[in-house]
Symmetry: C2
């Protein structure tokens, strides 16, 4: 079967012929439909994130997959079921408490591998296998968008944790701000709209005309240009934010967002920056954090419950939004285009098979 891999020492992916995997006991063989591409894939390709499986010189890419069960073995699945796989798997030493508790998303990086990212092959191949427990059913009606279940699940978790952090009091968020107008930011903005926020904002650094700004405004949100309005000035320029979602990985945002929050507000941090030393007014930020009961929650990865929530969310997203968000779905013959980026690219996927 054909697979898209990154080889040790190379800086761009290749298509290669690999043996079709055989499912072990309790495992399901899945025929891949589509696999999404995101910034993490680009970091893995560039070598700045993740790593190869132990002892191997290549990594099958891809962690945002949807496929069809072709061998269900003795599991609860049936042939023809559409499924999305979760990403984290037990490390070489075997399952630990995080996996036993069904919350591998809470494992520290060293206590798991991540398919397509770190230490385990991904899903950019014509077939993949997975233990049934790491597969989540996807209704056939949304199969074509099923590669969005994984990124949506990332935000389901972050939002769940952020809301939990405000569950000790009566909190009714009215204003939401997403930092970052990439595909994850736009998906999250659409999720906030569905949750009934009165006013939402999305921050980017692009000039009009721009397709992401069009989507932001079509969703009913306001575009904030960070070049004109730094994050810390958003309360004065617009209003304080009950919820801030940081998806840029720009480290200063993690600290500036404390000032963008309304009293009792919470920021969810998801971007993963490199080391970067800079000066902050730590005293003022600390005081602001305390005197206004603010909270920050870091969030990475997602578990089966978040995938299940993501499937429900996906079914409620408007068709126009999905059409505009996914700017291209490329066949394997055209795989390089799926990794390319220009100003018109928002979200791409690779198509391996049709349902």
């Amino acid at each position: 079967m054909e697979a898209v891999v990154i080889r040790r020492g190379e800086t761009s992916p290749t298509v290669t012929e690999l043996q079709r995997p055989d499912p072990g006991p309790g495992e399901v063989l899945v025929r891949t439909l589509r696999v999404g591409v995101d910034g993490t894939d680009r970091e893995v390709i560039a070598g700045s994130h993740g790593g190869f499986p132990a002892g191997e010189d290549h990594l099958v890419l891809g962690h945002e997959a949807v496929g069809v069960v072709v061998e269900a073995d003795d599991t609860a699945f049936e042939e023809g079921d559409v499924v999305a796989p979760t990403v984290r798997r037990p490390p070489a030493e075997g399952p630990n408490e995080y996996f036993e508790q069904g919350q591998p998303d809470m494992a520290p990086p060293e206590a798991c591998v991540e398919r397509g990212i770190d230490g385990a092959h991904g899903f950019m191949a014509e077939y993949f296998t997975s233990p049934a427990e790491y597969l989540v059913p996807v209704p056939e009606e949304v199969a074509e968008w099923g590669f969005l279940v994984e990124p949506i699940s990332i935000s389901e978790k972050a939002i769940e944790h952020a809301y939990a952090a405000r569950s000790a009091f009566d909190w009714d968020p009215e204003t939401g701000l997403v930092l970052g107008n990439g595909s994850l930011g736009l998906l999250t903005l659409a999720m906030l709209e569905n949750r009934g926020y009165d006013r939402t904002y999305c921050l980017g650094r692009r000039d009009r005309p721009d397709p992401t700004i069009d989507i932001i405004e079509e969703l009913g949100a306001s575009y904030v240009d960070s070049r004109a309005t730094p994050v810390a000035e958003i309360p004065d320029a617009h209003e304080p934010m009950d919820f801030v979602y940081e998806a840029t990985g720009y480290a200063k945002h993690a600290f500036e967002c404390i000032e963008a929050l309304a009293p009792g507000g919470v920021g969810a941090l998801l971007g993963v920056p490199e080391p970067w030393e800079f000066e902050i007014d730590g005293g003022r930020l600390h005081k602001e954090f305390v005197m206004n009961n603010k909270a920050l929650v870091g969030s990475v990865n997602s578990n089966v419950s978040h995938f299940e929530a993501a499937v429900r969310t996906l079914g409620g997203l408007p068709a126009w939004f999905l059409d505009d968000l996914v700017t291209a779905v490329h066949d394997l013959a055209d795989y390089e285009a799926a990794f390319a980026e220009d100003e018109t690219t928002i979200k791409t996927a690779l198509q391996f098979n049709q349902i």
Copy 2:
């Protein structure tokens, strides 16, 4: 009646004669037993925190009070009931949503006044009045320690909010670290012991022999000298911490504690620093926060539910601990001593009446 006040332009408190307050409708007249002294009182006296009631040139000090009902009016209280008053009251404009929802502790500073601290007279007087809704019953057996209900309630809230921030997953904290060995830090350390932490730590910057270190070790916790072990190095020197409680107001701790946290851990920030610019590796901290699912929760003040929890907690604290923690209870004639501090002072209170 006699009251302890700070006058505008002065830097030390005075005892003065004030008219005994008359309870209005729905208000209770309380004969004050004892009022605790804490760092906030010293900041108010120094003029670095809080403020005078509008149009007045003095502020009756004191926000940690216990007293006995002497006029119950038409409330649920009866003469002789021992009560502790909460601190926040509606601002001059009247009650807002925070008060209507029973969570004035979540109000931003401008949406409330604080008795004895900011904009409203406190409880350091022979009598005070309060609407019944802001009084919490205290069992007579613990009346002598009832001035500790307010500081304990501060930690009840902070712990409640921190635990809420971890309620989206199965979290079982085993290691706890309190930054600060003042009276609030020691009270919180005792509360963690009662919650069944396996191992607890308390950070200070004092040489042995020291009465706070004795209490720390008698509680079963380990003393960490911050001069030898900076906060960020605690995981290497000891172990990562599931829960960190920041009670020093030293702004760098708010950021260093991200590194002291275990994966999935949470830090509660309570200290209130002054502005202070310094350099951090914001990229590394941000990444650590995200990749290990950490959380930070700022917390100020407390509401009736936290006072009620504090009354229960107070009843479970060991007698030796309370005896050692409260280093002196001064009569009004000796009020200046209650505000003085030396190396043997941990917690003091002023006594106005006996039960």
